[in-house]
């Protein structure tokens, strides 16, 4: 079969406006579902066919489409085998067909002597071989495509009209073409045909699609850019032209990591809300530039989905770019409209700023007792109290970790970090929570340390987000996270992969990232206990017990740390070994992991791994007391004990400064004594006192290792 000889199938589902956020998932699932179904239906050529190479997807607010090239026009014929009774049961001793054989033949519509012998895993049977004629691709598609579409999963679906059907939005037309022929099928009661529609306003007429390979070109003639990528590059080209004309570039959104160019999130969205994007350049009153940059950019992007422009020095301009879905703006109505709306929006923002500024951030905070943190967990005022209490555990941990932190600024930030939730600005632009608090704190003349901590305390929001920029912000962020985690787990809610309404995966991952990347030694158990205790009074309605919540939350941390470990070490068994030795101090987990991975490159690793294995094997789960020097009898055990006593201060000092590699190397130097001990000393002595003493000695050494890693988890290559 030559590469380009196959048939082309096009499916387009014409709908009312599909939410932008659902587009990519729907197209991905549609392509995958179709690919799987075509494979199962034997319509794919034997080679040279792939999902990425042969299936294209197209999506606009009003259509989901997929095109498949190089399909077989016909299923290949197949040989079908139907097996009947075993040969032994089909013929009697004389070789005559039994009643079983006759019955089977009759059921298959063949003569008994036409039965063949077929080998099966269960032995030889009689049976029938039949040629199954392949169906035309059209027939196969007509019967299989509706199920693929029906299996699409959307975050939210709806019913319409007389209510029989359910889809993401009402379906208005279905195009299903195999080359130039219509594949006859129905989706949600709409029968397929060759007709599609152009742009809703600029080219609303019905169009007959006569050739699936010209789908993109035909729609383009009717002002629909069907490929998502085509719209993205069109928007980018138009924006870059408009920006250049203004001597400007696209400003990054607030909270984006430093050095971010443009607004990728907004670009992603506007690409999916347009069929024929048109960039509109507009202006607003330069007097609005007095507003803080964060607020201006957000006012532009939040409601207006418009891009802010900044000059070469990074100063905002009084210009914006809006993305319309239109052919042109020859009358200027779209530009004038957007400018009018933006004037209202910016006036609103300035109004909120002025109103909010009539009171200090602190007095805004007084209203927090009326802002719900969680229906069952009470108000934000109570949350702030609990967070302040948690700081009593967090701040000393920073000090112990030799991180200089301004406790006064951190406490001030804790008291004020949620105060902006009562402001009009945050009610209008919820994504500015924290940022607005920081702005208002500075405007109130509060110390920069507190203002910066308020501003950053929601960081990191997502995996790729930057960390809080100051230790004080990290204190607030940790207190906030732990309090929420404890409260939600007390309600018995454990997030799962598909259901995590409070974003706890991100919250816990963020906690670990802060501790690990900012090098903070802190006991999770202590912190979790204190966070849970914060909810004792008043008791929460419907809470599970503190012990159950504690266990579930710490278990959840373990899962996240395992996940995070993958990015810290190339060796999964290193991660397991480090976590098996404890996960209470996530930063220490990382240090131990580094020590393990470093040690694995040294020859001493094998020695230690084997020694640990021997110790574990002999100890099993026995509980024994530490060794008593008076009971050490043999020369070899005295030598080992002596070497251990000598090494202990060094090991302890290394472990105290979390230099686990140095500690492991010091333990490794005990290896010759340990070897001699195992060769010369009978550990399982008859005298139980001697036996337990020897076990106690081994246990002490094993314990030292186990403070770093469970070596038995590590794969040892010979």
């Amino acid at each position: 079969m030559t590469a380009r000889s196959g048939a082309t199938f096009l499916l387009e589902i014409g709908t009312e406006e599909i939410p932008a956020r659902m587009m990519d998932g729907a197209l991905r699932d549609l392509a995958q579902g179709l690919f799987d179904e075509l494979g199962a239906a034997r319509l794919l050529p034997d080679s040279g066919f792939s999902l990425a190479g042969n299936l294209e997807t197209f999506g606009t607010p009003r259509r989901l489409a997929v095109r498949v090239r190089d399909l077989r026009a016909q299923q290949p014929d197949a040989l079908e085998e139907i097996t009947g009774p075993p040969v032994g049961a089909a013929y009697d001793a004389a070789g005559k067909p039994t009643r079983a054989a006759e019955g089977f033949a009759r059921a298959q519509g063949v003569a008994v002597d036409a039965l063949e012998r077929i080998r099966t895993p269960k032995g030889e049977c009689v049976g029938v071989r039949r040629k199954k004629i392949g169906l035309a691709a059209e027939e196969v598609l007509a019967s299989r495509v509706p199920a693929v579409v029906a299996s699409l999963v959307f975050p939210k679906t709806m019913r319409w009209g007389t209510g029989e059907h359910r889809f993401v939005r009402p379906i208005h037309w279905v195009v299903a073409l195999l080359d130039r022929r219509v594949v006859d099928l129905s989706l949600c009661g709409i029968r397929s045909g060759p007709r599609t529609r152009g742009h809703r306003l600029a080219g609303p007429e019905w169009i007959t699609l006569d050739d699936p390979s010209r789908y993109v070109e035909i729609l383009r003639d009717h002002l629909v850019a069907a490929p998502i990528e085509a719209r993205r590059s069109s928007i980018q080209a138009q924006m870059s032209q408009a920006a250049t004309a203004a001597g400007a570039r696209i400003a990054a959104p607030p909270g984006a990591p430093a050095g971010t160019e443009g607004d990728a999130e907004l670009l992603h969205e506007v690409t999916r809300t347009t069929e024929w994007p048109l960039v509109i350049a507009g202006e607003f009153d330069a007097a609005f530039l007095e507003l803080p940059r964060e607020i201006l950019v957000t006012a532009l992007r939040h409601h207006q989905k418009s891009f802010a422009l900044e000059g070469p020095q990074g100063r905002l301009q009084h210009r914006f770019l809006a993305i319309a879905d239109a052919r042109d703006d020859s009358k200027g109505a779209i530009r004038r409209g957007n400018e009018w709306v933006l004037r209202a929006r910016l006036a609103d923002a300035r109004f909120f700023w002025d109103e909010d500024r009539k009171a200090t951030l602190q007095s805004h905070g007084a209203g927090l007792d009326r802002v719900t943190f969680h229906e069952k967990l009470g108000s934000y005022a109570r949350k702030v109290d609990r967070m302040l209490d948690l700081a009593g555990t967090i701040l000393p941990a920073f000090e112990r970790s030799a991180i200089r932190v301004d406790g006064g600024a951190a406490r001030q930030a804790l008291r004020l970090c949620k105060a902006d939730l009562t402001t009009q600005m945050v009610k209008e632009f919820p994504e500015l929570q924290g940022i607005v608090g920081g702005l208002y704190a500075r405007a109130d003349g509060l110390p920069e340390g507190a203002a910066a901590a308020i501003e950053d305390h929601y960081l990191p929001r997502a995996a790729e987000d930057p960390l809080p920029r100051t230790p004080e912000a990290a204190v607030v962020s940790l207190a906030d996270r732990l309090d929420t985690q404890a409260g939600i787990f007390l309600l018995g809610i454990v997030p799962t992969g598909s259901r995590d309404p409070y974003g706890l995966r991100r919250s816990v991952l963020g906690t670990c990232r802060i501790l690990i990347e900012m090098r903070i030694h802190l006991s999770l158990e202590t912190l979790v206990d204190r966070a849970l205790a914060g909810y004792r009074d008043p008791a929460i309605d419907g809470a599970i017990g503190e012990d159950a919540a504690r266990a579930a939350l710490l278990e959840f941390y373990r899962g996240r740390l395992e996940h995070l470990g993958e990015s810290l070490s190339p060796r999964p068994d290193s991660v397991r070994a480090a976590l098996a030795a404890g996960m209470d101090d996530p930063f220490d987990v990382r240090l131990r992991l580094e020590a393990i991975d470093a040690l694995r490159k040294e020859p001493g690793f094998l020695t230690l791994a084997l020694a640990h294995k021997r110790i574990k094997n002999i100890l099993k789960d026995r509980q024994v007391a530490p060794p008593d020097a008076a009971l050490l009898k043999d020369e070899a055990e005295r030598a080992l004990d002596g070497a251990l006593r000598q090494a202990l201060p060094l090991i302890a000092a290394a472990q105290d400064r979390a230099d686990h590699l140095a500690a492991l190397r010091a333990i490794e130097r005990l290896a010759p004594h340990l070897d001699r001990f195992f060769t010369e000393v009978l550990v399982m002595a008859e005298d139980p006192r001697l036996r337990d003493n020897r076990l106690g000695l081994l246990r002490e050494i094993g314990g030292l290792l186990l403070r770093v890693a469970d070596f038995s988890e590590l794969a040892v290559e010979a």
């Binding site: 009312e16 406006e17 939410p19 932008a20 956020r21 607010p61 939210k156 679906t157 709806m158 019913r159 319409w160 009209g161 007389t162 209510g163 029989e164 059907h165 009402p170 208005h172 009661g189 709409i190 809703r200 306003l201 600029a202 809300t273 048109l278 509109i280 409601h303 207006q304 989905k305 418009s306 809006a322 319309a324 879905d325 239109a326 703006d329 009358k331 109505a333 779209i334 004038r336 409209g337 957007n338 009018w340 709306v341 933006l342 004037r343 209202a344 006036a347 609103d348 109004f351 007792d369 009326r370 802002v371 719900t372 229906e375 009470g378 108000s379």
Partner: protein, 299 residues
Amino acid sequence: MALNFQQLILALQSFWAGEGAVVQQPYDVEVGAGTMHPDTFFRVLGPEPWRAAYCSPSRRPVDGRYGQNPFRVYRHYQFQVVLKPSPVDVQETYLRSLAALGIEPRDHDIRFDEDNWESPTLGAAGVGWQVLMDGMEISQFTYFQQAGGIELNPITAEITYGSERIAMFLNGVANVFDLEWAPGVRYGDVRLQEEIEFSRHNFEAADVPLLNRLFEQYEAEGHRLLKLGLVLPSYDYALRCSHTFNVLEARGAISVTERTGFIQRVRRLAVACARDYLKAREKQGFPLLKPRPAEGPRT
């Protein structure tokens, strides 16, 4: 010349009358939205077809700004349209209604932007969009999926026009109080004093103990009437409860923990009304079911 405020309302009434809608009048009990009008809340239930259009003054105590904010008012005028079952060409009809207001859709950027709607007090939820014209929200467009806690079938399309916004936009007016209502009469002339006094009332003067008592009594009366089979009078009391709650909230008299409780109590009454309304209509044999042929595609 762009339509003034009252011309806009008249144009919408006349357009939708032409589409077969019953032109209703505002309901005379306080509502927070046109959806709470019995001609939406009850009519979306059950199999009977229905089309109605009406202006709905909507009271939102927390939105009061003493008449000082150019865009926000305590009471605004929604223009509400319900079409049941939702017609196939409902979006096109909506676009034609804009043309009837003097908006030529081809000259503008009109977008249907995902915006789902939910009312915990009414046990109602829908899927749809906000309609944006040149970046401004001019309407809400909702396919009702559930009301009074009942899954709906057939589905009603609800279109809610923001009358003030559209009129301001058409007239290029930056402050709602400057909008022409009728020749020589501005929106502010008609409404400013009301905004100022009700803002003061809702935020400062409303008698909290009295309102709390009223809420209790309205609620009890609603349930009592329901037992007598008086669904519509009972629903009036549900509306009164809802508005009383809204004033208490604006007054800052409802704590976090109480809030959910209040909403649930209104919802319980509204849901019971919906259930009993449906029973009552069923008993009558769904009177509106007969004369009109069904709209929409036959499948």
